[in-house]
Symmetry: C2
Subunit: 876 residues, 2 copies
């Protein structure tokens, strides 16, 4: 016999996550622990990848193995699949290595057919339950396996209710359900040209295939990209004996966490529904009761569940997220997993577990996903403004944080408006997995239906997006794009604000303020810092940003762009004078006007930095970016510059570029116009001298970075201007000051020839934005149009501009770092592309031995944590 | 004592070219051979590089060494520098490792001052000669060393002639010359604020520095770039005793070749002027006599010279280019070097030397510069059209070939018109080194003055450009931009034609036809072919180009671009229909219209290729290139496509790209629209099947190339479309046919990951045009604007789009080739960028083990020869 693809729950354990998926491994582990788990088997993730490798077919050896395990399952349960007297019914569920809630397909009640349903009716003495289960199964199977969409069946139900003159499903009796089953089957035959499959084993095999297929559905693909889950992993499939929470009032189903997933508070937290199936809770159709109520309603069950919950948390040493079902007064555990939680909860739980002596500080550092911290750093409402505001309504505080934006009513609109730079709040009756992209682009999410564990709430918490759910007071009309609340009507584009921590909804825009690192957060970050070796700097061009970054723990500035300083007021005029200058003297005269501004800017920056290192990058963008393009502006600016419109137009046209990304920019500007580098050097060195004179304790050492270098001679040419200017000024100043000159490695040629470049460069900063563009040969702006096709076709699984392409661009970075060190062993190596704030990229930078990463201020804590985790994982 | 920087002629020899420069090494060699060479010394090229390293200063140790050698020279000549009774006068000339005629500075008659001139007048008994020499020296020294331009002095001469009422220089007597000397010195004092330097050693040291400086003058820099001479080489300086060809009618000066440099014919070929200085011949101011006449005029001198010429040719085993001076009946050799020659001459000389038993076939292959062959491949006049044409005049056949174009009258205009795509003929009174760039952009060159060895003739032959010189019948007015000849007036922009082989000038456009490889050329190319291992293919998209390339020896097609086939007639309409299609079906319908055209094109190509390999590249350019941009065209084409103008505009705007070079193109198109690859595969495979059915002997094996690949998954995605389509068609056809799928390596990421890419690619073709753009991070169109600054600042010494950047891009190519072979040892490796026809790049390709280069048809013979030389040099 070959490889084993199918495992009974009793054959696996919790460490087999890669093979059995998270759900399967944990079902096995719970079985091992002797907990009440409906038995079954798991078809491994390897069976899924083989399914795809074999051209979307389940090979006969795997089929046979499934049948064999089904037989085992029949032995264990004492029931028989398709049996008329004691039938086995099963659920077929996906379960990937990483949890992907709601992204893939599930089929319940499988095993029913015309014979079995009758026997089920007899056994349970509840024909309505039996036929309701049957029609649900037909509906689910047709949708998931046969691609007959659910709404088509809903129409049939609606017609039936109309005929009977009733409005609720619960008003339909057993005969009505039986009739619906017949109508469903007729509809199925009409659409498919064949009978609805009645053979339970056929049903099962088709369901397994459907789950495998669902690994590749669009929303799963989007979710994977967002969460960096490789396509190659595949999903396992769990076949489990059905237990029925909808067997009567002594039955029920629920989900619960061992700690509050929003705050981290240590208490059992969850919801349940009496006489319901699990899907009813997750889908948020009925609003469930708090788990607290179960204590009163079914005290024994509650105690049993609470004890199991505590033992699972102790066993896994982490907060658990569990699904359970009560069938006729008996408790069954359907799932346990490490619970998703907000960043605040993740922090509190990690710190509490340390304080409870359950985990070490080092383990705690690994327990928070770096990306999650983002949520803690996002703005909260301005307290003063909040005092003046009165809520117009209240929902559930489903995901914390504050949000303010224009209201939109569909995921598409959310995407479209956000793409235009608008901040939006997505308001929905309830969200579904199809909405996932629109949810990601919204500042906040507001739903009318659904509890704390509804789709909207779970997904929003995962994203760190503010969410208020289940605000039943809202009357919403998604088609008309408006909602009513508190006596007011809000139309698309109106401002509202949400407080995800209180559940309050405001009918106005409330300004927000930045968050701070203190308390548990500070303690936790200190643990992280004491474990990391990679330094974290920030990309900042203004004293305000620099201050914020320092507050977030930045140890310096890795990229201070000078061109951003050029766009304000009088400066842009002087820049334009420089650009239209016909000769060196005019150009120098214009640059002389810019000098005091630049020098003042750098002084202010050096003061904020208080001696922390700061890499200043010289002028980078092509000059045409500083000139107007519209006729009106051209006329106005020509007047301002005191030149003719024709002359200005000629300059504009002479600066036109076919591919501006690959044009006259970066150090190429200083090669053509050395006086630019001369002015910028003067500004930097004067500023540093002044600050060192007023604050000698800072011992500021200027770091000047020449961008877009592709050849050592090019670097040397510009560096010679810098050093001759700097040396002269320093000598004249009479004080002693060191300074450094380095370069950005962002052109592939520089990366390849880094050993030569390092002869002249005292530091390298990897500009991975441009390096990614040039290495892939696509520009970011243009690639956005076709990268979607690449994701859909699985050619790329993540956005190379967000997550460093370690395979290609990373190989260049690594090669370049090694070559640089060969020439200059003490060369300082950093990264200043946007990847500097992406956790997986930060880990890569640690692993290849860079000295620091530099990222935007709000990502500094993320980078600190990612760097700490990289250092810990390296030691393992 | 440290390094030796100065060598007496008697200390050196011919092998010391790197140290002494070509001129210096050959002067030493001639001295060694006992030939009559005015003695002197050479200051080495290392002294030049040290001059630059020391910040443009001659260090004191080198100065001392020069003085020491000057003293030796005084001993040898028995004359004394600056001596009143027996003064030594010298020439100071440049002499680089590679000959750079006219590019650097020369100073004659150095050592003259107010005392020495009097003694010279006495010794020669010719005061006019002495003062003429003196005023020439002041003029030359002021111009070259002191940057007082010559024309300023010419004005003083003109004024003097006006005062005397004469028109010719020769009408000025000794006193007039003396007066001119005084006026020159007064002018010098006025401009410089100091006396003209009278100390001969000071004069010499300044002259040496000026020659060193002239290594860095703009025209030398341009010449070096064109001829790939590294800046780092530096020039040597030769200080040589003056001999005076202008000492009377028993004196003279001339230049001669041992074989005809235009045809290669074995006969002494040259020109001389009686009573003249060497510069007069080279400058082309007076039209000199043929060397044949010297036989009659000075038979003994002629015989002596002819014997020396033959001995030099035998010694160097190559055709010699010599300068000589006759001073009062005594012959002196001033220079010998391997003569520059036309391609035809180079071929004939190489073949003749083999037939004469002087060199081997292998040596012969090394004797022709590959780039030179270009001239032999250029069009000649259409014989029929030529019969009907009557010349309007005749000049000297200075550089062979035929040219036809619009006449322009300045180098600037030649450059400007050529940049606009015009074919021009440059007509000048005479050319000067400043004209070099304008000469390079012209189809042909026509001069009024100057002989076969004038500047125009020498440079044109070097460039392989057709040239007719010395047509004294022309009345030219360069300012008015017109010339008169044969009773007609030609204005700027009028068509003329030149026959550089006969010297005929035609006042009309005469069509030209391609050249063929036969006779000596064929024999020579056979020698080359039998020595090379690198295959040579061509880049061709049409049967016409393919046929031409095969005639030139192409062994296959390395790049057949399919998009060029898309632009004609009905095709472009179908392409546009495809682009505006809203869905897959419409797109397929439009593609179906294109299919028969493409298939027909490929069939025609396969027929011409007769089984030779042909790599077909799939659609590459971004789709917006097929759409109109102008309002009028948009309206017309919208109508043609039967869609609204607004709809077409929306498509155009949706296809707009910020950086089209890095946009939606290459294989990215087929990722988005797989039906394009499907159609193209169908066309290729059907065409090959049809041709293999009609001509089974061809055994055509289609080679399909997927462009712009950056990831193996991307390649696999498109390849899967190709193979599934191809396999199906081949199966249906019932015949057996292999085919190959490969990729272009033109994106840096593909080069870095070539080992992975090679898993799916059966061949690599290096697209070094795009690879150069992306590796350097500049686009060709935009870089043109600033690359000039890079050349001027010595950052780049050659155009990386013309000559492969072996250091950077080449490193990627080599790495990629090695990675590719590691995965697939039998992978076929070629290059299809424009570098495939550049000799130094071809040699690089040979050295790194590529299988073939592919270049434009007219460069095929060049590549064949370069490949042969690479193979020969490798064995050495």
């Amino acid at each position: 016999m070959g490889k084993k693809y199918v495992y009974l729950f009793s054959e696996g354990n919790g460490s087999m996550r890669e093979l059995l998926g998270g759900k399967g491994a944990n079902l096995a582990e719970m079985t091992k622990l002797g907990l009440p788990v409906p038995q079954g088997f798991t078809i491994s993730t390897e069976a899924c990848t083989r399914y795809y490798d074999d051209g979307r077919k389940i090979s006969s050896d795997i089929e046979e193995e499934i049948y064999k395990n089904l037989a085992e399952m029949e032995k264990i349960t004492g029931k028989k699949f398709g049996d008329a007297s004691n039938p086995l019914l099963v659920s077929v569920r996906s379960g990937a290595r990483a949890s992907m809630p709601g992204m893939m397909d599930t089929i319940l009640n499988l095993g029913l057919n015309d014979t079995v349903v009758e026997s089920l009716a007899q056994i349970t003495g509840n024909p309505r339950f039996a036929y309701d289960s049957y029609r649900r199964f037909i509906q689910m199977f047709s949708d998931v396996v046969m691609e007959l969409p659910k709404p088509e069946f809903e129409k049939i139900i609606t017609a039936k209710k109309k005929e009977k003159g009733v409005t609720l499903d619960t008003e339909l009796d057993a005969d009505d359900m039986k009739d619906l089953v017949n109508r469903f089957k007729a509809f199925y035959f009409e659409k498919k040209g064949s009978e609805f499959p009645s053979d339970p084993t056929l049903q099962m095999m088709e369901a397994v295939k459907a789950v495998f297929r669902s690994w590749d559905n669009p929303r799963a693909n989007v979710y994977r990209m967002m969460n960096e889950i490789p396509y190659s992993w595949g999903t396992a499939v769990n076949v489990q004996e059905m237990v029925f929470g909808n067997s009567g009032d002594d039955s029920g189903t629920g989900v619960a966490f061992t700690r509050d997933p929003a705050t981290g508070e240590k208490k059992l937290f969850g919801e349940y529904l009496i006489n319901a199936q699990g899907e009813d809770v997750v889908a948020g159709v009925r609003t469930p009761s708090s788990i607290e109520n179960l204590k009163k309603e079914m005290p024994e069950i509650y105690d049993q569940f609470a004890a199991i919950a505590q033992s699972l948390e102790d066993h896994y040493r982490d907060m658990q997220d569990m699904e359970f079902t009560i069938e006729k007064g008996k408790l069954f555990m359907l799932q346990t997993r490490n619970g998703k939680r907000t960043a605040a909860a993740a922090l509190k739980i990690a710190v509490d577990l340390v304080d409870e002596g359950k985990i070490s500080e080092t383990e705690a550092v690994l327990r928070v996903e770096p990306k999650q911290l983002d949520a803690l750093l996002h703005p909260q409402f301005d307290a003063a403004a909040l005092k003046k505001a009165t809520p117009i309504g209240k929902g559930l505080a489903a995901s914390p944080g504050a949000a303010c934006g224009k209201v939109v009513f569909s995921a598409e609109d959310s995407k479209a408006w956000a793409a235009k730079g608008e901040k939006v709040i997505l308001a929905r009756l309830e969200t579904s997995p199809e909405d996932i992209e629109g949810m990601a682009t919204a500042q906040g999410i507001l739903t009318v239906r659904g509890g704390m564990t509804s789709h909207a709430a779970v997904v929003a918490r995962g994203m760190g997006t503010c969410c208020v759910s289940g605000c039943g007071a809202i009357e919403i009309d998604e088609d008309a794009k408006e909602f009513k609340l508190g006596g007011r009507t809000f139309k698309e584009g109106d401002y509202i604000s949400l407080d995800g921590t209180t559940g309050n909804i405001y009918g106005e825009a409330i300004p927000t303020v930045a968050a701070a690192i203190s308390g548990d957060f500070e303690r936790f970050m200190n643990w992280a810092d004491s474990r990391r070796t990679l330094k974290v700097r920030t990309n900042a061009d203004t004293p305000r940003d620099a201050k914020q970054a320092i507050a977030f723990g930045a140890e310096g500035i890795g990229l201070c762009r000078t061109e951003h300083m050029f766009f304000e007021g009088e400066r842009i005029k002087a820049i334009r004078e420089m650009i239209v200058a016909n000769n060196v003297d005019d150009r120098k005269a214009a640059l002389a006007k810019i000098l005091p501004y630049q020098q003042g800017d750098f002084e202010a920056m050096y003061k904020v930095m208080e001696g922390r290192p700061m890499v200043i990058r010289f002028l980078d963008p092509p000059l045409h970016e500083f000139l107007p393009q519209k006729e009106d502006d051209i006329i106005e600016i020509a007047k301002e510059l005191n030149i003719s419109v024709a002359a200005l137009k000629e300059v504009i046209s002479s600066l036109h570029e076919f591919n501006p990304m690959m044009g006259h920019r970066g150090c190429r500007l200083s090669v053509s116009y050395p006086e630019i580098a001369e002015m910028q050097t003067t500004a930097v060195i004067n500023a540093a001298i002044n600050v060192n004179k007023s604050n000698p304790e800072y011992k500021t050492i200027p770091e000047i970075m020449i961008p877009l270098v592709g050849d050592v001679k090019e670097l040397k040419f510009v560096k010679d201007i810098v050093t001759s200017t700097a040396d002269r000024i320093i000598k004249e100043s009479g004080i002693e000051m060191e300074y450094q000159v380095g370069t950005m490695i962002e052109v592939p040629r520089a990366a390849i020839l880094a050993d030569e470049i390092a002869k002249e460069a005292e530091f390298f900063s990897f500009g991975t934005n441009d390096l990614t563009q040039m290495t892939f040969g696509f520009s970011r702006d243009d690639a956005a149009k076709f990268l979607q096709d690449y994701y859909e076709k699985k050619i790329y699984e993540s956005d190379p501009f967000a997550r460093l392409d370690q395979n290609g661009v990373g190989k260049l970075v690594q090669m370049s770092a090694e070559l640089g060190k060969k020439t200059r062993p003490d060369i300082s190596l950093g990264i200043c592309g946007e990847h500097g704030g992406d956790p997986s990229s930060v880990m890569f930078c640690h692993n290849i031995g860079l000295d620091y990463v530099s990222c935007s201020p709000y990502r500094v804590p993320i980078a600190r944590l990612a760097a700490a985790q990289a250092a810990i994982n390296e030691k393992k």
